[in-house]
Amino acid sequence: MKELSLHILDVSENGIQAGADRVRIAVEEARPDNRLRIVIEDNGRGISPDLLRNVTDPFYTTRTTRRVGLGLSLLESAARHCNGSMRVDSVEGRGTKVIAEFEYDHIDRAPLGDMTGTLMSLIIGYPEVAFEYVHRVDDCRFEMKTPEIENMFDGRPVTDPDVFQKLRQILTDISGRIQSIKNHPG
C-alpha cells in the first residue's frame, strides 16, 4: 500500500465485513515522541482466540475465512519496517481493535496520504455504519462523527449529494488545518 490511509480503509473494511455498525478511526501524530499511531476499533463479531494467534499470517487465514486476510499482515509489515509494531485486541461478540505504531520520521514510513478519500469512500460505501474519526497532531485534536453530520442536516442520509459534498468540505478543511500545523511546528 502506498499510503497509510489505504491501510486504514482496508482494516476498517475488515470490521464492517465482520458485521460492525460502528467504526472508530484514530490517527495520532506525536512528533515530540517521534511516533505515529493508528487505532481502528469496531463493534463487529470479533476474532476467536485461536484465529487471533494467526491473524497476521497471510497463508493461514486468507482462504479459510473472510474475516482477515492479507490486510493485517500488510499493515504489520509496514509498521515493522518503521521500527514499529501492530497489535490486535479482540473479544468475540464485542469487537476488534487494531493498533499500529510507526516511527514518525522513519524513511520507510509511507505518508498518511488522502484521508479524505479514505473516509469518503467508507462513509458513502457503507452508509449504514456510523464512523468516528479523530485526528491528533501533537496537542491539536480534530474530530468528526457521521451521526452528528446527519443531525446537522436534519437527519438526511450521508448519501444525499448535498450532505456528502458538505462532509467532504469538512474533511478537506480538517486535513488542510492539519497540514498547516505540520508546516509550522510549535
Binding site: L9, L70, G117, T159
Partner: protein
C-alpha cells in the same frame, strides 16, 4: 431568523421530494465498487471518489453507490459491478478514475454497456 421566500419554499419542496425518493428505495441502478485488500491496493479508492463526483454532478436520485468486499477476482481489480434494474449485472475490470467516469456517463446514464472494460456478464 430570516423570512422564507417563495424560492426557499421551492428548494425545500425539491429537497424533500429527493429525500423521500431515497427513503422509498427507488434506486434503479446500483453501482458496486469492490474494495477488498486487493481492490484497495489496485486503486479502488480513486475509482470510488471519481464515482462520487460524477454522482453528485448528475443530480440523479435513483442511483445507489455501495462498497463491497473482494469477490475472488483479485487479478482484475479494481472491479466495479453495475446493476441496472431488469438487466444483467455487468462487471467491469481494471478500472481507474477515467474509466469509471466513462462507464458512469455512458452505461449508467445512457445505457450503453462499455464492453471494452467489461470482464463478464453475470
Amino acid at each position: 431568523m430570516a423570512r422564507l421566500s417563495i424560492d426557499d419554499l421551492k428548494k425545500i419542496k425539491e429537497k424533500t421530494a429527493k429525500e423521500t425518493s431515497l427513503r422509498e428505495g427507488r434506486a434503479k441502478i446500483k453501482i458496486m465498487v469492490h474494495m477488498g485488500t486487493c481492490g484497495i491496493a489496485a486503486g479502488a479508492r480513486d475509482v470510488m471518489n471519481a464515482l462520487m463526483d460524477e454522482l453528485a454532478e448528475s443530480d440523479r436520485d435513483d442511483i445507489r453507490v455501495v462498497a463491497s468486499g473482494c469477490m475472488g477476482m483479485c487479478s482484475s481489480e479494481p472491479n466495479v459491478t453495475v446493476e441496472v434494474d431488469g438487466e444483467e449485472p455487468i462487471i467491469y475490470q481494471k478500472m481507474d478514475a477515467n474509466k469509471m467516469r466513462q462507464v458512469f456517463m455512458r452505461h449508467v446514464l445512457k445505457g450503453e454497456v462499455q464492453t471494452d472494460f467489461a470482464l463478464a456478464k453475470m
